[in-house]
Amino acid sequence: MTAVSPALRILPEILLTLTGVLVMVTEPLLSAKTSRKPLGIFALLGTLAAIAASAWQLHLPAGTAFFNTIQTDAFSVFFHLLIGGILLVTLLVSLNYFEGHSTYVGEFYALLLFSAVGMMLMTSAIELLMVFLGLEISSISTYILAGYRKRSAVSAEASIKYFLLGSFATAFFLYGVALCFGATGSTNIHSIATGVASGSSPLLLALALGMMLIGLGFKVSAAPFHVWTPDVYEGAPAPVVGFMSTAPKAAAFAVLLRITYTGFGTMSHIWIPLLWIMAVASMTIGNLGALTQRNVKRMLAYSSIAHAGYLLVAFTAFSADGLAAACFYTAAYAAMNVGAFAIISYLSGYDERRVHLQDYAGLAKRHPLASAAMAIFLLSLIGIPFTAGFFGKFYVFTTAMHSGLWILVTIGLLNSGLAAFYYLRFLSQLYMQPYDAAQDISEAPAQPAFVLGIAILVAAVLVLGIIPNRVLRLAQAGAATYFPCSGTNAAEVHTQPNLLR
């Protein structure tokens, strides 16, 4: 079918792995006192190369490689670019984070790179074995990253909680894969689709689907599998939280898309109601939980649960547009959330000096630019027009409406109205409270790399909000190359504009 060398299909992953290995190998060769910044910069270069390679993959004919385990198409490229972008800005904003606080920071960069490799594999995998490997590569790296503030008890606790509960959820996912294998005799998504369409052993398949949704629901922190999120986000270092609240979610959502839309497209009568309930529960629990939360990181953790809910709304639409909307929203959410956590990491520093809302009172006076950037991210999280968050939500809810899910849309809109309350509280802390000079904490001046990272994120939030069409088209291309699947019939039924269903 194709003359493309298999290696080219995983070129971004190869580049990132090589960079990571080199960083890892160089690390012990440097003396303990040398700055690890060059390693970070090297990791940055590797990431740039990987992003370029992903963009180049867009010109490859869509196809599979490595015995039908990997498929590169516009869809996978979209997520590769997204994950690469998140990795890039995370590296930029954390370049100075550990300076003077921790040794062996090279490992940090390497782990970030490996984690991204795992996620990228997840997005292009069409074989559940490969999904599992990608999932574990990324998870194991993030378990360590969560505990990277080694001397902090909170950080270690976050790490162990994430690790134990994550492995617990992975076991469920694996059991689902095993049942799926049992029902269809294959772990390839396309073969599974054929097996599912044939209608044999529906009960086993349903259980398999349920098990896999449990595992993935954990990864995207959808309710009721969200319990770990606030604790882990609170304890993990802020730049890591920015990364792990977006990139693994994007990857897990990509897998969820492949499994539900392609693999189990003909069983949509089972997963649509299930995702519907999970969406409602996530939005509601996330927003209500954030409402009275005083710890900034926990507040954003609950908000990320709510955003997972909005994303699930797009899934439930089950149409090409729903898929594109989910892709677009993932990108929009990544830009604003990484940004918010990056600003927090800058303002509170390595030793987390600013934890509670009141610690941010009047900071706009002292840090006008950082506060302005934070304001843009928060406004985007609220969903104010001309920001990424607005179009993301608009697009998601439009597609849901197209599929006639008006109850879900109503609940979602009510929720996003409610959400304004706590974001606004943060915003008014920054801008509308007097600054307490007594609590003055001297921050290191922002480094150029950090400023560049924030500038990229602000630009992304604004571009996605003002001229979203370019990214939209990419997302739609991703959806189009891959949506016409076994579930087409069901999709057509669902895309009828039917108002009163």
Partner: protein, 656 residues
């Protein structure tokens, strides 16, 4: 071939001012900040005048698109395009004209404030979004402006952020408006689902092409739009934010919370009148909400003692009039009142600002009095505004209020004839109340003995003084407009041409229901009679105020004591805020705590935690023991969730 009006430039001018002042203003001298802000808002006004001059030669409706498509989603696309028609032109003139005057006024008023640059940056930002809102050719762009003005309003209300009340008021305004936005957004999604487009011209064209399309979905959409409009235009049930919004600087109250932003709801209803014309139910709801708000707010206004709060309730009440007019499909009357109201209410606020300025920050009516001689220009301009709002011939308010009341009296779109007469009666009573509380304010401020504290007013170093010319000039211009601004709508019954309504005919004339009033000699006589009646009522209100607050200043207090229950009810604004707090805010916070599995958290949200203490703590202490950041209990939740999912899946697979 239509000429290019460069509409894109119009919102960009104030945006440029915002970006300049917002990023550099802090370090620049005041004069530069001022001149940039004035230059860009003035340039926008100049462009609108230029457009107006060429307006006759345009082919209507004039649409200019800049990004086609702006957003393209499968099966539907939205363009970035602006629309220019008579309605837009009138709104543009009001927004930029009044906006420029208020910019000018602010130069003097805000001169001594900290954060001068910030104020002007926000003001320009507001103009940017307001112009986007007015120019929008589709619902999405309208919504963008809609949210944007809400944001600017939030920033400006909370301008004095050292005051907790100001920050809270800003937040309240934003949150309450979110409820309205929820309706608006839902309406937008319904429109997308039903029409596959958001462009005004396409949707209205589609509706016009199907004469049988009536009620049903259109009613749902229209009612949701009404919910949005009640939020932005401060109508029942979402009016509660506007009085609190008076925490912002006075020029802001004049521009945003009187003249422009709060009228966005009326503009929206008028703009989408095609939808409303097909839904008598929605129109009836609009009319009833309008009438109810008008009288409700007017009664509260009677007892308020803060000069700006009186004006705020008066604004709510006048917006009710406009809603009422929309509800009887008299859209041109609504827009007419919108324009005259923009003149006299902006003037009232600016004059009130001048009074406050003269007294060194005093806002309490009880601590004023006898200012007539000390600040004559303010006095005379404010007098013009008071006469205008009370509807005395030939001031501006007379013509617009008369047009509304006449349209309501003759309403043909309402289900029952009596409803029209009832609403008219309410409107008439409200006119009397309006006259009463406005003259109360007038007397308490300018007549009687001086009750203010000279020492306090002396604070500025020059005692009670008239304001500078930059503040007085806008007052005078608006004063003149309050007098002559209504003449453009001089009704035919009184020998005029009703040219304002005819100017809007291309917009509203297209719909059948929009012509409720067919002119005949009999109805002309009727109109004259009704006009005389409403004048009479207004005179009555004046007389009452004269007796109570001028001749017999002790009487009101005695009356308040006698009817203490009624007085307290009005003074506490019918306890609506408390009611909302009890039935909406507290339960939400309680649920939030349940989600968090935690007990009382006093101090975080204004004291409502204390009220919750008794109920929630018993429950949460049980929960706390089993749920305390423990990995095993988290795993328990996961396992429970997993079990639920599996049971659910099993059930679905089995039953279907």
């Amino acid at each position: 071939m239509t000429t290019n009006m460069h509409l894109w430039l119009l919102p960009l001018l104030p945006l440029a001012g915002f970006l300049w002042n917002g990023t550099l203003g802090r370090r620049l001298p005041k004069t530069l900040v001022t001149s940039v802000a004035l230059l860009f808002s003035g340039a926008a006004f100049a462009q609108v005048l230029w457009i107006a001059a060429q307006f006759r030669s345009l082919a209507l409706p004039h649409v200019e698109s800049f990004a086609t498509p702006w957003i393209a989603i499968h099966g539907f696309q939205v363009d970035f395009s602006f629309l220019l028609d008579p309605l837009t032109l009138i709104m543009l003139l009001v927004v930029t004209g009044v906006g420029f005057l208020i910019h000018l006024y602010s130069v003097g008023y805000m001169a001594h404030e900290e954060g001068y640059w910030r104020f002007f940056a926000y003001l320009n930002l507001f103009l940017f979004f307001m112009l986007t809102l007015v120019l929008a050719e589709n619902f999405l762009l309208l919504f963008v402006g809609w949210e944007g003005v809400g944001l600017a309003s939030y920033l400006l209300i909370g301008f004095y952020y050292n005051k907790d009340s100001a920050a809270d008021a800003g937040k309240k305004a934003f949150i309450v408006n979110r409820i309205g936005d929820f309706g608006f957004l839902l309406a937008i999604f319904l429109l997308v689902a039903h029409f596959g487009t958001l462009s005004f011209t396409s949707i209205f064209g589609a509706i016009a092409a199907h004469p049988a399309m009536q009620g049903g979905v259109l009613t749902t959409i229209a009612l949701l739009l009404v919910l949005g409009a009640t939020g932005k235009s401060a109508q029942i049930p979402l009016y509660i934010w506007l009085p609190d919004a008076m925490e912002g600087p006075t020029p802001v109250s004049a521009l945003i919370h009187a003249a422009t932003m709060v009228t966005a709801g009326i503009y929206m209803v008028a703009r989408t009148h095609v939808l409303f014309d097909r839904s008598p139910l929605a129109l009836g709801v609009v009319a009833i909400i309008g009438a109810a708000t008008a009288i409700f707010a007017a009664t509260i206004g009677i007892v308020q003692t803060d000069i700006k709060r009186v004006l705020a309730y008066s604004t709510v009440s006048q917006l009710g009039y406009m809603f009422l007019a929309c509800g009887v499909a008299a859209y041109s009357s609504a827009i007419f009142h919108l324009v005259t109201h923009a003149f006299f209410k902006a003037l009232l606020f600016l004059a009130a600002g001048s009074v406050i300025h003269a007294l060194g920050g005093e806002q309490d009516l009880r601590a004023m009095g006898g200012l007539r001689k000390k600040i004559p220009v303010t006095f005379w301009t404010m007098t013009a505004a008071v006469f205008a709002i009370c509807g005395f011939f030939p001031f501006a308010g007379f013509f617009s209020k008369d047009a509304i009341l006449f349209a309501v009296f003759n309403a043909s779109v309402l289900h029952s004839l009596y409803l029209g007469k009832l609403l008219w009666g309410i409107g008439l009573v409200t006119a009397g109340l309006t006259s009463f509380y406005m003259f109360r304010l007038w007397y308490l401020t300018f007549f009687g003995s001086a009750r203010y504290n000279e020492e306090h007013a002396e604070h500025g170093g020059h005692g009670v003084h008239e304001s500078s010319w930059t503040m007085l000039l806008p007052l005078i211009v608006l004063g003149v407009l309050s007098l002559v601004g209504g003449w453009m709508g001089w009704p035919e019954a009184l020998g005029g041409h009703d040219s304002f309504a005819h100017f809007l005919d291309p917009v509203f004339g297209a719909s059948a229901a929009a012509a409720p009033v067919v002119m005949s000699s009999a109805s002309a006589g009727m109109e004259r009679m009704l006009a005389g009646l409403s004048m009479l009522i207004a005179l009555l209100g004046w007389l009452l105020a004269d007796i109570l607050y001028h001749r017999n200043p002790k009487l009101p207090e005695r009356m308040a004591q006698k009817c203490s229950a009624l007085h307290a009810l009005l003074l506490h604004k019918y306890w609506i805020d408390e009611l909302y707090g009890a039935i909406i805010v507290r339960p939400l916070l309680a649920i939030s705590r349940v989600v968090l599995w935690r007990g009382v958290d006093a101090g975080i949200v204004d004291g409502s935690g204390v009220a919750l203490a008794s109920g929630a703590s018993g429950f949460s202490s049980i929960v706390r023991r089993m749920q305390s950041g423990n990995i095993r209990s988290y795993a328990g939740w996961l396992a429970m969730g997993a079990a639920l999912v599996l049971i659910f899946v099993f059930y679905l697979a089995h039953c279907i």
